[in-house]
């Protein structure tokens, strides 16, 4: 798209769009009735609020917290691993350069799309209402949501692999399994792993919340702590989730460094 005309000045259309966006922003700001003094005072208020989280942590809660964090982590981990395995096979059908038939590819992509359209929280709620409370509905909900997401993510990674290697393998007379497993997948390996860790990271945070609907893990206690203003617990709970995410991130970097 060209934003600048032959003479070097912006095109009228470009100027029009900029003016429109500016107008929307300005009128939106005023329609929110946000006054200058509110904005100025918000900073200190926020800091005061946040301080409450860390002033006097309830250390007696620590053992329970560690158990719950581990539970949350396991829910995310188990769901992610099973989802990755299923999604890998799914992606071999969904990716346009791997699929045995374009119609099959389209069908797999459509199915994954439908599942992906349902937010994990809703999936967990539906499953919890059928299977009862506990870890199992949480794991299943995350597993389904993650598998659906990963099928698309993996397929996209597989599709952008360099065609030269594929052609090289084809020219040796290799069968179609070989063309995919030797010509395509090894090239995609690093990105497949990267995408998987990203999903794992996201699942950790989702798992933390799912507990709020009774699906196991730290979520139930987290919601309770918010409801009862238990700041002495909220601080260390959030810290605990943060550390878990950080640990997965560090692991991800290490693995990707080794794979490259």
């Amino acid at each position: 798209m060209k934003f600048v005309s032959q003479s070097g000045y912006p095109k009228p259309a470009t100027l029009g769009v900029i003016t429109l966006v500016a107008a929307v922003l300005i009128s939106g700001w005023f329609s929110m009735h946000v006054t200058g003094s509110e904005v100025v005072h918000a900073g200190p208020l926020l800091i005061g609020f946040l301080a409450k989280f860390f002033v006097k942590p309830d250390w007696s809660y620590l053992p329970t917290l560690l158990m719950l964090t581990l539970e949350t982590f396991l829910i995310a981990f188990v769901a992610s691993v099973f989802a990755a395995v299923l999604a890998f096979f799914g992606a071999l059908f969904a990716a346009r350069n791997c699929t045995p038939h374009p119609a099959v590819g389209a069908a797999v992509r459509a199915a994954a799309g439908i599942v992906r359209a349902v937010p994990d929280l809703l999936l967990a709620l539906l499953l919890a209402s059928t299977l009862g409370l506990g870890d199992v509905p949480g794991v299943i909900a995350l597993f389904l949501a993650t598998a659906a997401y990963l099928v698309k993510a993996y397929a996209e990674v597989l599709e952008v692999v360099d065609g030269k290697a594929i052609e090289g393998i084809r020219s040796t007379g290799a069968d179609s399994a070989a063309i995919r497993m030797v010509g395509i997948v090894p090239q995609a390996r690093a990105d497949l792993i990267g995408v998987t860790f990203y999903a794992m990271d996201s699942n950790l945070r989702s798992a933390a919340i799912l507990g709020a609907v009774g699906a196991g893990g730290i979520g139930y206690d987290l919601a309770a702590a918010v409801r009862h203003f238990k700041f002495d617990r909220l601080g260390i709970m959030i810290l605990s989730v943060y550390l878990s995410v950080w640990a997965v991130d560090a692991l991800s970097n290490w693995v990707r460094g080794r794979v490259e």
Partner: protein, 243 residues
């Protein structure tokens, strides 16, 4: 042991209407070293790629030995026809050994492909091929860490373990500097002659063609312009080919 290649009345029209090859009839005898010369866009690449089915001929027939080249025979044809590409077409993240072993994929089943489980005899064959292209000791290096000349040697080794009876080389040295081009080309031709493999090369360097080929085929605008023995390529013929 090389095998002959026969093209009879072969034409290729691409979906966008471009007539890349028109009515080409050529025969290659076993063990022959033939170079295809011609200006860019003449159809040299298309011609070569039809022999191993990477492009499908619109008309005419192509035979490799006793095999007709058609969709049903592709794997069998490709088993006996090895190809060396301008950009090497190796799998970048895999090692030299892994890439060379790929030449054996045509002889193995899907279990080998999925688990990359080749028998020891294949590793032996691969080691031997890696040695004959001068890369002994570098079996476990990743190919994308090698120089262009070295990568092309890996590609040549791959055709060797394939037991190819015909080797097609589509501008094999176009991406290499002049000194390396000579090294790689002389290696390729030497190995082909040693194994009596039929070698068909696309080149744009006329001097290299005259040095290494038995026979030179000139292609211009999708048709055979001339078909002479290498020492019969006169300057006039050359000029008319590249006009």
């Amino acid at each position: 042991m090389g095998t002959g290649v026969r093209l009879a009345g072969v034409s290729k029209r691409f979906p966008n209407g471009v007539q890349a090859i028109s009515d080409v009839t050529l025969g290659f005898s076993p063990g022959e070293v033939a170079v295809v010369l011609g200006p860019s866009g003449a159809g040299k690449s298309t011609l070569l790629r039809m022999i191993n089915g990477l492009e499908v001929a619109s008309e005419g027939s192509i035979e490799v030995g006793d095999l007709q080249v058609n969709p049903a025979t592709l794997r069998s044809v490709r088993r006996r026809v090895g190809m060396v590409f301008q950009q090497f077409n190796l799998v970048p993240r895999l090692s030299v050994m892994a890439n060379v072993l790929c030449g054996r994929l045509a002889y193995r089943n899907w279990i080998t492909s999925v688990f990359f489980a080749f028998p020891e005899s294949d590793y032996e064959t691969a080691r031997h091929a890696i040695k004959s292209v001068g890369l002994e000791g570098r079996e476990w290096d990743r190919v994308d860490r090698l120089s262009g000349g070295q990568q092309q040697r890996v590609a040549i080794a791959r055709t060797l373990v394939q037991g190819a009876q015909v080797i097609l080389a589509d501008e094999p040295v176009a991406s290499l500097d002049p000194a390396t081009s000579e090294e790689v080309l002389s290696l390729l031709v030497a190995l082909a002659r040693e194994n009596q493999v039929t070698l068909i090369l696309n080149l744009h360097q006329v001097d290299l063609a005259q040095k290494y080929a038995d026979r030179i085929i000139g292609i211009q605008k999708g048709k055979v312009h001339c078909d002479v023995s290498a020492d019969a390529l006169t300057p006039e013929l050359q000029k008319s080919l590249y006009r």
